[in-house]
Amino acid sequence: MSHTAPIPAPSSGPVPWPLLAGAIAISSIIFGLYWDISWHTTIGRDTFWTPAHLAIQFGAVLAGISCGFLILTTTFGGNSAARDVAVKVWGFRGPFGAFLAAWGGATMLISAPFDNWWHDSFGLDVQIVSPPHMVLATGIFFVGIGTLVMMAGPKNRAEGATRVAMERLFIYIAGLLLTLYLILLSEFTDPANMHGGTFYRVLCYGTPLLLMAFSRGSMLKWGATKAALLYFALMLAGLWIFPFFPAEPKLGPVYTRVTHMVPLAFPLLMFAPALAIDWLTARMADGNKWLLSLIAGISFLLVCMAVQWPFADFMVSTHARNHIFGMNNFPYMQPPSTYHFAWEFQGESLTAFWKDLGIGAAAAFVSARFGLACGDWLRRLRR
């Protein structure tokens, strides 16, 4: 069936503008988020009007406005083709993903007054994971997921060059979502934690879900691997480029003398477990889904351990304390007397370690199964 509506992708032609707007929105948000964290650990002081905050909120506004416009034109525009590929919510019609992304944009904007009140009441940000930030993160996830979902239907119907372009866009957004998720985990994922059970347990909660969903939902042979490689490349770019910008703290106490923007840590080697998941989903595409999820979940955990464990040995060594690996980057509020925590593995009892691994394996199985379901939904989405 051919469509002339803004969202239902034609079988050929350019990628519809709402999808491009969504991709720009989520890009602006993730870049702003990285910048904001770096800002907090380098300069410290912020207001609502820092460039990093504006980049984040621009993404929210863009997602909200573009999806809102799409919903309004679909509802009131009289385009029956567009209405044919819409879902109905409270009398409004539009692509399912547009509703999710608009909801995400609204949630992001709502987090601003909450964040402001939080600052007034409990003080300024000294942490990534604060309640208003989690509201913001929820909104960001929905903008990203909404854009993915919005894209899935038209992509699944598109053909030829349009389909290739949309598949690339799908992977791009998937990589950004993975980046967002792993940034939120970043304070658990220091190399010093990589010989402990907590690191692997935390990784197993949500990462297999995302990788399985991308692997299955992208309908590409190496969908999850490509998304993980994009995350790896983006984080490396941040790690290597941000330090070229001079900056200094504007808040005390200053424990570490900082002269340039402090980047986030070296990325995780997620392309390795992603590769395993892609291979397994391709090999067992028609097999039992529970068995696939079990094998994929356990494989995720084992491959993570196989690559991150030895890599951590290198990262805590003196060889990683350079611009390339960034193990000599510390925020201004970190006392030098605590640097050694970053360079030595955290102690943990063997019982706690195996308990963490056991929970992690179970979580990875459940997460992979849910991710598989999400991937299947993405494949079947038509609206």
Binding site: S38, V87, G123, L124, Q127, V149, G326, R380
Partner: protein, 504 residues
């Protein structure tokens, strides 16, 4: 970038509460450090420039302190301010200083806002520049979280309504998605689709309700824990009599202090020669005033002090006990005790007393006090009403019996004088020196870091001083106050008593 894991574990637990924003959180602790007077007043020199500094630390920390600086020199061009810890690793590297804004109406007044990121013993370093070159002044600022701010009712209602809207929207969106998103273009949902939609909406609503309910429970305990761990309280003080005319003062352990072992510190250091300055004031009349200096009788942590009581009349006494920590952080502990009439030892050393008339609430402030040797202390105060929240330089002159400026004033514990400001209801107590409301011990810690002008501190104990003494301070609220001003005159401590009425 690498941070310790403990940090993050604490932080991640906060995340759950994000769903509960509007439901809770409304703690308000009207607790003030230093007995109702948290603002810092300081009179000092930044090189050649005399500066009268007022710093109002934030009630919640991290937060923004407001600063006002009034220079006496018209050649003063600019002032920058930067906050740092006094001790520890955080005292080594100052962040980028902030320029204070010069008032358009009053060119000698500079104002600014400085960020205080943690409870502890801070300094605000002021860098002044002008016609006479640059100069630096460091002002100790004890900062402690005193309360959390409640959410404004309007904002709470707004956020609650938004939360309900977002939850309802999410439930119905997921319902719509499960009903129609998998249908081919133009296809109408069937009964099975609708049933699935209801199921999804039900499960989503249940899941969100569970998250909200569980998060609310979690948040209550988290908020209570924060209030316990973050909100400052001075250590409890237990007074008792030993039957031999000795007052025993046992300090209780304080987790707030021990959790901040470096930036606050638990060890005590002497403040102008004494580990504790004890003020015994008979209440409610404030007619008997004793400034004593107990000895530490138990050096364990927490310590205990013993004071041999002087002769005093029976009554109910309010106790204010000033101590200073190794970081320069001061505590004023409070307690009450009923004392029998006591025939005690004569006062010795730096101990002093006065027995006078009861405080008399009045719309007019006293300006003259008669001293025990027949001389007079005059408060240089005109008829201008005293207003709360305003920095005032309280100036007192001592005249001899013949009405001429006294020539026999000497330093009292190294300073030109000491002043105690006490609110009628005893909710405000401040022990102030000519340099201001800061502890002298904290100033001494700063001396090696910044060279600053403190002319009176350098006075030798036997050197005669000028007949005037001044104290920078500001009344934190309206009310009736009693002011005790102490100077040493011809080897004897004299106390002038003034009653003051303060309006908003």
């Amino acid at each position: 970038m690498h941070m310790t894991r403990l940090h993050f574990r604490q932080d991640i637990r906060l995340s759950v509460g994000c769903f509960l924003l509007p439901l809770f959180l409304l703690l308000a602790f009207p607790l003030d450090a230093h007995v109702g007077s948290p603002d810092v007043y300081f009179d000092g020199h930044a090189g050649p420039y005399q500066l009268l500094v007022t710093i109002r630390p934030p009630a919640m920390i991290p937060g923004v302190a407001e600063i006002e600086v009034r220079g006496s020199d018209p050649g003063l061009n600019s002032i920058k301010g930067v906050p740092m810890y006094i001790v520890g690793e955080g005292s080594k590297y100052p962040p980028v200083p902030d320029p204070l804004q010069r008032s358009k109406d009053d060119p000698r007044l500079f104002t600014g806002r400085l960020w205080i990121m943690g409870s502890g013993s801070w300094q605000v370093r002021l860098e002044a520049d002008g016609a006479q070159g640059p100069g630096t002044l460091a002002v100790p600022v004890p900062a402690a979280a005193r309360r959390t701010m409640p959410m404004l009712r309007g904002l709470g209602i707004f956020l609650f309504a938004i939360m309900i809207f977002l939850v309802a929207a999410l439930v119905t969106m997921l319902g719509a998605g499960s009903r129609e998103a998998f249908l081919a273009p133009g296809e109408q949902p069937q009964s099975a689709n609708r049933w699935r939609s209801w199921l999804v909406m039900g499960l989503t609503a249940f899941a969100l309700a569970a998250i909200l309910f569980g998060g609310n429970f979690w948040w209550d305990s988290e908020a209570e824990g924060r209030a316990r761990g973050m909100i400052y309280k001075p250590p409890a003080l237990s007074p008792s009599l030993d039957g031999h005319g000795n007052l025993l003062l046992k300090m209780a352990a304080s987790r707030w202090h021990s959790n901040r072992s470096v930036i606050v510190g638990t060890r005590l250091i002497p403040d102008h020669g004494h580990l504790m300055h004890l003020f015994l004031i008979r209440s409610p009349k404030a007619d008997c005033f004793y400034h004593l200096h107990p000895e530490m009788s138990d050096q364990n942590d927490p310590p205990a002090f013993t004071q041999t009581l002087p002769s005093l009349p029976a009554g109910h006494y309010q106790i204010f006990a000033d101590i200073v920590r190794a970081s320069g952080f001061p505590d004023t502990m409070t307690a009450e005790i009923d004392l029998p009439e006591t025939t005690g030892a004569p006062l010795t050393g730096d101990d002093s007393e006065i027995v006078t008339a009861a405080i008399t609430p009045s719309a007019v402030s006293d300006i003259t006090a008669e001293l025990s040797d027949g001389s007079h202390m005059i408060w240089a105060h005109d008829a201008t009403p005293l207003r709360a929240g305003k920095a005032i330089l309280f100036r007192f002159r001592v005249d001899d019996k013949n009405g001429k400026p006294a020539t026999d004033l000497e330093p009292y514990m190294g300073m030109a004088g000491h002043a105690v400001f006490l609110d009628h209801d005893r909710s405000v107590f401040a022990h102030v020196h000519p340099e201001g409301s800061v502890s002298m011990a904290a100033l001494a810690l700063l001396e090696p870091q910044v060279e600053q002008g403190r002319p009176m501190m350098a006075m030798h104990h036997t050197m005669e001083g000028p007949p005037e003494v001044s104290f920078p301070w500001g009344f934190p609220k309206a009310g009736d106050y009693r002011i005790f001003v102490q100077v040493r005159k011809a080897g004897r401590v004299e106390t002038g008593v003034f009653d003051a009425h303060v309006i908003e």
